[in-house]
Amino acid sequence: MADIELQQVEKRFGEQYAVRPLDLFIKNGEFVALLGPSGCGKTTTLRMIAGLETVSGGKIILNGQDVTWLKPSQRDVAMVFQFFALYPHLTAWENIAFPLQAEGESKENIKRRVKEVAELLRIEPLLKSRPGALSSGDQQRIALARALVRRPSCFLMDEPLGALDADFRETMRSEIKRLHILQNATTVYVTHDQIEAMAMADRIVVMSQGVVQQVGTPAEVYHAPSNLFVAQFIGSPGMNLVRGNWADGVVTLPGDNRYTPPAGWPEALNRGLSGSGVIVGFRPEAVNIHPNGQLAAGVYSVDLHGSYTMLVLEMGDDHSIHARVSRDAHFTVGETVRFDLTPSMVRFFDPKSEKAIPIINHES
């Protein structure tokens, strides 16, 4: 079991940065998700930890040992690849046994440990098949077993569910989560799917264009995004972001709406904003519709999602926001509704720096 520490780790291709200098400490047993859109540098970061990619600068420390320039085989890591990377000419059993055979383990040991890990993943009936004959879900189970069998100090997973069908994905998600709890091994998990990251990770590292945007627990990145990118990227749909003007203790929003920030925020806004422009951010579930609400908007569409209804509202022209309401409520397109925002769920951003305005005496 191990800690992973990245110190100013970066990756350049010529002048182009794939990963800008990055600091990260992952403590023993933690499940950390690297989350971001494709091309954000998350996979490169993972491959640098694995040793499959050399770093252009910085240090990687694994369990107190500087492994920056060690080969993958010299680091105690196991990796699960997006497209499984199973050996096609070997049976499932031989695939799982491969890391043990490579280390020269005794035959009885290999047999015993493959059996153990196959039981853990419930894949005993598949052991004689070759990867080509297995479904993608089963192939990924074999790949997981191959990673687990050596009992490495940390697991690196590169979008392990990316190549699976949607219905398989959820099953495997809970399986990986269960394995992590059973093994309690440090896990770094790369994904572009924020739902996956939210559901599985202890902490999420949100990346974009080679830069870490925010590191935090799922609740932190969801409720207190550090900038506009994170606010939009996390959640589906993302946070509602409405542009307004801050003056005389009131935020003027499109559609002649005037919004009074909750207690504590006026001072924070006065101190934190670079100009009078401000962006108000709130999650769809922060919208409370009632007849005396301070804000008003027109109903643009009403989408029933089964357990809830998602309203698309229009504040003024072209400023649509999402509101999550009870599935029993009824609205007609075109009508005007009035609503308030749950005070603890409102966030403010500076339009110039795109960063969140910090508030001190206010808990999220």
Binding site: A50, G51, L52, K71, P72, S73, V77, A78, M79, F81, F83, A85, L86, Y87, P88, H89, L90, F98, P99, Q101, A102, E103, R130, G132, R146, R150
Partner: protein, 308 residues
């Protein structure tokens, strides 16, 4: 209107040929050539192998003598000696070609500056005529002025061995030329096999802590095996038929030290003109080649089955 009518007419005449007819039309020339040059000679020579006949005596018709030709050949100790010699030659030359060819492929697998040029240069021997190769290797092997002995350390003329003139070395001399000429062919097939191995297998193996040696035996070799086996199959059949190199280099000599079975067959058919007997010998060779290649095809199918 005029135009439309012509078009319709054309379409009609085209339609008057059915798909099957068109297929037959395309295949017919090949079939006719195949029958004339392959099928007919195949069966005619099978018939001749049971007769006493010589092509230089066309006025004497083939006389049916049953299995006598086969009987005579299979009881001739010299034939067995030449078959053994050919077998030894085939095993040694194909094994060396497989090793050298695979080694070259491993070396040229990584792209480096000039690797394309080197690949092309290595392939040159395949493109040359075996007779030409025989002629200039004769010069290379020449004990008085050939460069071969000089390169292996005999700097004084005539001090080194006479590769083509000594019975113990002549077969090896032919093997060296054959390996030089055909290893590139094995290399070419292996190279395409190596380049088809996806990188991620090696990444997975690196993560699985496999040593380069372990990676070679457990990933590289099994992945290339099907193509390597095809190369070996081709080379085995070809080596069994080796004729032109021997004729160019030693003519079967000294004595009968390099009298491979194909050379002997040539003599029987076109020097002694014992057409009936040589047809029988050709059939014996054919059966052996088919048997050997069947073994290969079987193991090839087994490997393929494993890969899927």
């Amino acid at each position: 209107m005029q135009l439309t009518r012509t078009q319709t007419a054309r379409a009609h005449s085209r339609r008057s040929l059915t798909d099957v007819q068109i297929q037959v039309l395309f295949i017919a020339p090949t079939i006719i050539l195949l029958v004339l040059w392959n099928i007919f000679p195949l069966f005619y020579s099978l018939y001749l192998s049971f007769t006493e006949f010589s092509v230089i005596k066309p006025d004497v018709p083939p006389a049916w003598i049953g299995l006598q030709n086969y009987n005579k050949l299979l009881n001739d100790p010299r034939i067995w000696q030449y078959f053994t010699l050919t077998g030894r030659y085939v095993v040694i030359t194909v094994a060396l070609q497989a090793i050298v060819g695979f080694g070259l492929a491993l070396f040229l697998r990584e792209r480096f500056k000039g690797s394309g040029l080197i690949t092309t240069l290595i392939l040159i021997p395949i493109m040359m005529s075996p007779v030409v190769i025989g002629l200039f290797w004769k010069l290379i092997y020449n004990p008085a002025f050939g460069i071969f002995n000089y390169l292996i350390g005999y700097s004084v003329p005539n001090s080194g061995p006479d590769w083509l003139g000594e019975a113990s070395r002549a077969l090896w001399a032919i093997i060296i030329v054959d390996v030089w000429m055909w290893s590139p062919f094995v290399m070419l097939l292996c190279l395409s096999g190596l380049k088809a191995i996806p990188d991620y297998l090696y990444e997975a193996a690196a993560i699985d802590r496999a040593s380069p040696w372990f990676q070679f035996w457990r990933i590289t070799l099994p992945q290339v095996a099907p193509l390597l086996l095809i190369a070996i199959l081709f080379r085995t059949i070809e080596a069994f038929k080796t004729f032109d190199l021997v004729m160019g280099l030693t003519g079967g000599g000294p004595g009968d030290a390099t009298e491979l079975i194909a050379v002997y067959l040539y003599r029987a058919a076109f020097t002694r003109f014992t057409t009936g007997e040589s047809s029988a010998l050709a059939y014996i060779i054919l059966v052996i080649v088919i048997a050997v290649s069947n073994l290969y095809v079987r193991s090839l199918n087994r490997i393929r089955g494993e890969n899927h």
